[in-house]
Amino acid sequence: MPVTPELLREVALTEDEYRRAVELLGREPNLVELGMIGALWSEHCGYKHSRPLLRRLPTSGPQVVQGPGENAGAVDLGDGLVVVLKIESHNHPSAVEPFQGAATGVGGIVRDIFAMGARPIALADSLRFGPLEESRQQYLYHGVVGGIGWYGNCLGIPTVAGDVFFLPEYRQNPLVNAMCVGIAERSALVRARASGPGNLVVLVGADTGRDGIHGATFASVEDPERSHRGVVQVGNPFLEKLLLEACLEVLQTGAVVAMQDLGAAGLTSASAELAARGGTGIELDVAAVPRRETGMTPYEVMLSESQERMLLVVRPEGLERVLEIFRHWELPAVVIGRVTDGGMLRVLDAGSLVAELPVRLLTEACPTYIREAIESEAIRARRAFDLETVPDLSANDVLRALLTLLHSPNIASRRPIYRTYDHTILTNTVLLPGQGDAAVLRVKGHRFGIALKTDCNPRYCLLEPRLGAQHAVAEATRNVSCVGAEPLAITDCLNFGNPERPEVYYELVQAIEGMAEACTVLGVPVVSGNVSLYNETEGRSIPPTPVVGVVGKLNDVRRHVGLGFTGEGKVFLLGPQNATLGASEYLAQLHGIVAGAPPELDLELERRVQALVREAIQRGIALAAHDCSEGGLVVALAESCIVGGIGGRFRVDELVAVNGRLDRTLFGEAGSRIIVQVAPSAEGAVLTLAHAYGVPICELGHTGGDRFIVEGIVDCPLDDLAAIWRDGLRAE
């Protein structure tokens, strides 16, 4: 077969990679084989640039039941249960077709969870767009939010948490990261390992079409909109619901050895991964695969990314029971192959051989790259920006600044989004979206509960990726601690530009190292994740965006708090008293400047602050707790007043003395800061606790009334602030 540069470009292999494949194979691959190699050696499947770096992340801990490498990670909850978690990007498809791109992102992540034998119980989404006042960004935003809602609502899985950020750098490359959490019996967890030669390979779900061929390669090149229109798949949540119920039911039979979601690179990836993990081979006959189109070639069948399909390995003696269950759910299910000895992936077409590749060649032999890492000079210069050149705020302008920040799409109420997501189905949602810093869910029949949240401040990551990634871990875990849950584990979604560029590779290295450091100090291992590179257009990359999804555990789900102040009580600031304007929302919104060094982060202090707030919540000392992040102290106070529906009178003179400037004091940002409201009688207890944990504490004032008052600076009806805050995402 003549191998032309065009052909190699089509399968996204370099000439070096092609030569490597020929050398390993001992012959030239045919066209089907070349397509299979190209798909599995793509960045998306093969993690060519990230794999060597990902080894630096801590992945173990006494709570870890399943670390990275399976469909999803799993952590122990006690009582024989595990929580299963995974986050995944669907950035490139969403840039091209936002509604279906986002919808199928949800579908894919849900399959990863039930492939583990877990019942999905919650979804969360981390989204990034360009400025919302631009019409194209509104189109992307409404499409993505609509697609997530449509798919999740139909499936009947509540979408309970997430985060969204708007920054000009995401204009051409929006980010859609979907996270799913499930619950399983520890003893019933399923691994995707094809074991037992002679066992049968069963394909169930949707018929296979020509949709999404080369989706994996598409996700591994730049400029999604221009280059790859037409490869985005279309979702069918109705079919997925049937698949979900049927797959969980067939696992009860004990006849299923392994289960694997068909995602990127379709049958090729699913079968290779199953065989690689099981140390076996697989033989498939594409003629047995039900098609929705005629004339499909083996190449197309092997690389189709049709949604709502699952691959199972079934013991022959249990096959009839398995097929019977699929018939009940009216799902097409057919035997398409069998597990073999010898480590080969063999593809037949009606009995004749069309491809034969060593499984190892497709998986472990995928080339990896270590690139040159050089920090961008421009970024370095922006970080060095002298913040003292910014004129301070006068007391007369504080209210205007506060209103501007509360109305910012990065801070304003998320209700216009989550109101379109079903968040009460499954009757486990204890703390609704918007009520707390993280969602809280009960687990029926158990005392404990779980909390979850996603986070990442891209401005921090843009200006200092290592520190920014540390902040992402710190803030996401802090959010979970702020509802009273102990962070158990992380699933991460690393969104970056083209790693072949030294500035981007630098960001990738730095962010992973920062994340590893934070995870180590805070004691939260990374149990699953996903890497999405090449998020750039015309040489302009997105800011490094290492999104962190956290799951935490509440020993007693009843012992939780929200972020809204409840009734009358005293309010304290826990954590550092000095803040910075560097990389702040204030600087961006009020001065149009994205520059300066992000806030410092003392990870040891972070650990203690989180432990302190958890104990205060567990002991009933804290009535409310709220992470103090984008927008700074006064924005956090205003949010807690608005959500709680109660005003407050606060004092900041002590903090002004520390910070020197009014703008830094009121709107500057810092890590490791939490606002807590305590019952009047518990004032002594919180001071003692802060002392014991070695955490700085500062009294801010008390709640009550219907006005928002910062003595000598702001005095206005709370309703005025609430109206502005509620409208920020709606008034596009």
């Binding site: 109705f238 079919l239 109101r419 379109t420 997501y421 079903d422 009460t424």
Partner: protein, 238 residues
């Protein structure tokens, strides 16, 4: 009292209904697959929410042809309590067991929230234990919940006492602001002429425990137990 919970492909509120009856009410409940043709074993029937048959054509439009719907119609005819929730309400209107139709929300968006509803009619088995005017706090979660009937039918429904629930504000007033989907006359739920078949868009089965935001839904589900008691007493008399 035995609850039969009808499940179609794409139902997703079936499990919540099962949990509400079992955990919230402490009563036996079973899921009944859409191919079932006999519902005589159950003392009451719940048609739960979801996206039966993927909401293809129109919400509930295909489900009405499922074999189980003939059995539902038979039991309804015999006077057995039937409750349709959300998609279940849509199915009952499509099957003409309840009047009216459910259109896309006025906002054209899916809406998930907690709302207040006022009990307008207590002659139904699902409201018989409630005082007229009782306010209930219930979740809603739907994209096609805008109840519609023409003016003439609305007048008939009023006259015949078929309006069972209305969306209201926290003070009990049926204001336009309290109407989450643009329903005619703030209607959240209706019944058939006889009163034994009730449909509503809000989700009583999602409000069975204060830990998850409220247990007002149990007031609806528990009302039917009084009817069950009468049925059992009636059986004893023979």
């Amino acid at each position: 009292m035995r609850f039969g919970i009808v499940t179609f492909p794409g139902s997703n509120g079936d499990h919540d209904a099962l949990m509400a009856v079992r955990l919230g009410l402490g009563q036996p409940a079973e899921l009944v697959w859409h191919t079932e043709t006999d519902l005589s074993n159950y003392d009451c029937i719940v048609i739960p929410g979801g996206f039966s048959y993927g909401d293809y054509l129109r919400a509930g439009a295909i489900a009405r042809f499922a074999p189980v719907m003939q059995a539902v119609a038979r039991e309804a005819e015999a006077g057995k309590p039937v409750l349709g929730i959300c998609n279940g309400f849509q199915i009952l209107t499509e099957a003409h067991l309840l009047p009216g139709a459910l259109l896309r929300n006025a906002s054209l968006e899916f809406v998930c929230d907690w709302v207040w509803v006022r009990v307008e009619q207590t002659r139904t088995p699902w409201t018989t234990q409630l005082a007229p005017g009782t306010l209930l706090r219930l979740p809603i979660a739907h994209g096609e919940g805008r109840y519609y009937v023409d003016e003439k039918t609305l007048a008939e429904l009023e006259r015949a006492g078929q309006i069972v629930f209305r969306y209201v504000d926290a003070k009990g007033n049926a204001t336009p602001e309290a109407n989450p989907n643009g329903s005619v006359a703030n209607i959240a739920g209706v019944c058939n002429v006889r009163g034994n078949v009730v449909g509503l868009m809000p989700h009583p089965e999602r409000a069975f425990d204060r830990l998850i935001g409220g247990d007002d839904g149990l007031q609806i589900l528990a009302s039917v137990l009084a009817v069950g008691l009468e049925v059992v007493r009636g059986r004893g008399g023979h």
